[in-house]
């Protein structure tokens, strides 16, 4: 009998997207006796207790967290429309960098948080220096919105930005000759966040 076990995990659930039916420790199912239901249940209990003692997430890496089909019993419409909003990965490109990165906008609290992430990813490509002097900043952060238009980062409130942002690009200012790129409101704060 395939016994389905769902384990509590801090932040593990969403990363593991493979749906499997099986015992949590990954042993082949054939080994378990069908008849000894009680014993197997208590084995799972034991496994569970061990987990409770080692509550740090590193220890849980040992046991793959198996997602169970149809558990928790939340209707699929609801699952799609509430739970999926906890992650929002978008691509970030920087002109001059050889490859792109991905960041989860949902994990950031605001524009200054985002600026810090950019610094982490692209500091070696000079973003810090590039944005140091706001007026003469060599790079400008822009994003593509739901309509496919490229917008300047920082004009709208953060929540609105997350909803509409599809991807980010850190553009060379020189590519935008003639446009008014005076940092306004949030964008100024964004740049200040980077250069602090």
């Amino acid at each position: 009998m395939l016994l389905l076990m769902e384990k509590q995990g801090l932040g593990l659930g969403l990363e593991i997207t493979e749906l499997r039916l099986g015992l949590p420790c990954g042993e082949p199912v054939e080994k378990k006796e069908k008849k000894e239901k009680k014993r197997v249940f208590s084995e799972i209990q034991a496994g569970d207790d061990d987990d409770d003692e080692n509550s740090s997430s590193e220890d849980r890496k040992v046991q793959t967290k198996n997602q169970v089909v149809g558990w928790p019993p939340l209707c699929s419409y609801r699952k799609k429309n509430t739970v999926s909003q906890t992650k929002k990965y978008v691509k970030v490109s920087m002109d001059g960098a050889p490859f792109l990165r991905k960041i989860d906008l949902a994990m950031h609290k605001g524009y200054s948080d985002l600026a810090l992430s950019f610094e982490n990813f692209f500091s070696c490509y000079g973003i810090r220096e590039a944005l140091k002097d706001a007026d003469n900043a060599e790079h400008v952060p822009i994003y593509e919105d739901k309509d496919g238009d490229w917008m300047l980062v920082g004009d709208v409130p953060w929540e609105m930005f997350i909803e509409s942002c599809k991807r980010l690009r850190i553009m060379k200012r020189s590519d935008a000759k003639g446009f008014d790129l005076q940092p306004k409101g949030s964008l100024k704060g964004f740049i200040e966040g980077v250069t602090k």
């Binding site: 009998m1 395939l2 016994l3 389905l4 076990m5 769902e6 384990k7 509590q8 995990g9 801090l10 593990l12 659930g13 969403l14 239901k37 009680k38 249940f41 799972i44 209990q45 569970d48 169970v68 089909v69 149809g70 558990w71 928790p72 019993p73 939340l74 209707c75 699929s76 419409y77 609801r78 699952k79 429309n81 509430t82 739970v83 909003q85 906890t86 709208v156 409130p157 929540e159 609105m160 909803e163």
Partner: protein
Amino acid sequence: MNYFPDEVIEHIFDYVVSHRDRNALSLVCKSWYRIERFTRQRVFIGNCYSITPERLIQRFPGLKSLTLKGKPHFADFSLVPYDWGGFLCPWIEALAKSRVGLEELRLKRMVVSDESLELLSRSFTHFKSLVLVSCEGFTTDGLAAIAANCRFLRELDLQENEVEDHKGQWLSCFPDSCTSLVSLNFACLKGEVSLGALERLVARSPNLKSLKLNRSVPLDALQRIMMRAPQLADLGIGSFVHDPDSEAYIRLKNTILKCKSITSLSGFLEVAPHCLAAIYPICPNLTSLNLSYAAGIQGSELIKLIRHCGKLQRLWIMDCIGDKGLGVVAMTCKDLQELRVFPSAPYGNPAAVTEKGLVAISMGCPKLHSLLYFCHQMTNAALITVAKNCPNFIRFRLCILEALKPDPDTLEPLDEGFGAIVQSCRRLRRLSLSGQLTDQVFLYIGMYAEQLEMLSIAFAGESDKGMLYVLNGCKKLRKLEIRDCPFGNMALLTDVGKYETMRSLWMSSCEVTVGACKLLAKKMPRLNVEIFNENEQEDCSLEDGQRVEKMYLYRTLAGKRKDAPEYVWTL
């Protein structure tokens, strides 16, 4: 038996409205059966495969309102394979062919095609009300047909359906002559609607009482709509995102002050938390609040909002409200009757709700009768306290997110806790169990849950005895759904007659075998016993000893259905 002429009896029957009472009337004698038949206007079919549409129409030619349910409940949790069934088409075709003057159609978990909607819209001149809940298979083209052709449409209510958006501006298809709308709910649609058309539609619908918008409707459009419909009682907000300093937001705040008739609020599908203060003025009037799709609202904002809602009777929220937040609900919402707490992350937010929140609610809200509660943990002591404080439960659905979890304080199963619930709540009709449970809980259920009609079980029990306690004890049981429990052939076959007194039985990942199902089907010809064989191999024959992964059986007068897909074997 008949001292009165038929007309008098008919008149008396007009006052008998509930389906159960009507069914009872029809059993009294032949002439009452005949009179009841011709005067029946509303029919409820809990399983669309239990009877053929032709037979229904033949018995009730005066049918005006039909409710149909299709797929089994566990289809909601992806346990029923795609294409299983529940098609609306044959019903609409049969109704269209007959002379039934259909006015109202309510569907749940059915597969609805655009063609069916088109046929529906053209076949019944006085069609007034379409309610679709958890349905699929249609697009906005089907909705366009309804909008365009149903001249006297009063209600179009779409709840949690999967609808494909064809960007055809369906809402613009309501003709200028359509002024009869009372209820419009398109919150589940993903695409944009013409805002101009929407505003004009609202402006020419003086009877509009309920309006639920989707995410695409921005805050400024909401404000204009609310201006045109101050009589609204039930509002579902789409997008609630705006700069608090903007003109639009200030206008909205002023408009809201004028909407004193709103008693039910929902939506907030897109929300910027700092905008919520705008709705505080209407909170004291609210009897119903559904924030279960408002993922953007943090716990602290939820709590601030709730403090203004002293009259709430129904509350649907997400678990980010926390135990403390539920304490605030308990203090503020003394009239609370129904509470649903949904998980905000797939395996729960660790800072979310536990048994403490539920106990607080039970202490503060004695009128509570319906509960759906997703939580991290539950204790027997808490359930016993809840049972004592709230003896009026009709629906009690508890989902402890971690399957098989025992009482964390005592490490014991939750048998005693649920036992207390069924013993105390004599009017309990629906129960969903979770956590670690032995056969004992089923003994309690069989002994005490005399009014129980629907029971949902997962990862529970130890032996066939568990299931037998329930089948023997719960005389009013109508629906039993079981997954991942060690119940097998003996439990299934001990009382085969029981299943004709029930609507349906679902068993998946249990211990029943093909042979037992075949035997059951043979003994009970008026049951359809369906086995789902989702194995890819074409030539696999079902051997008697093989374990059945999924079985769904239901009583029926229609015989084996002809629309079952290949993987469904009706034995």
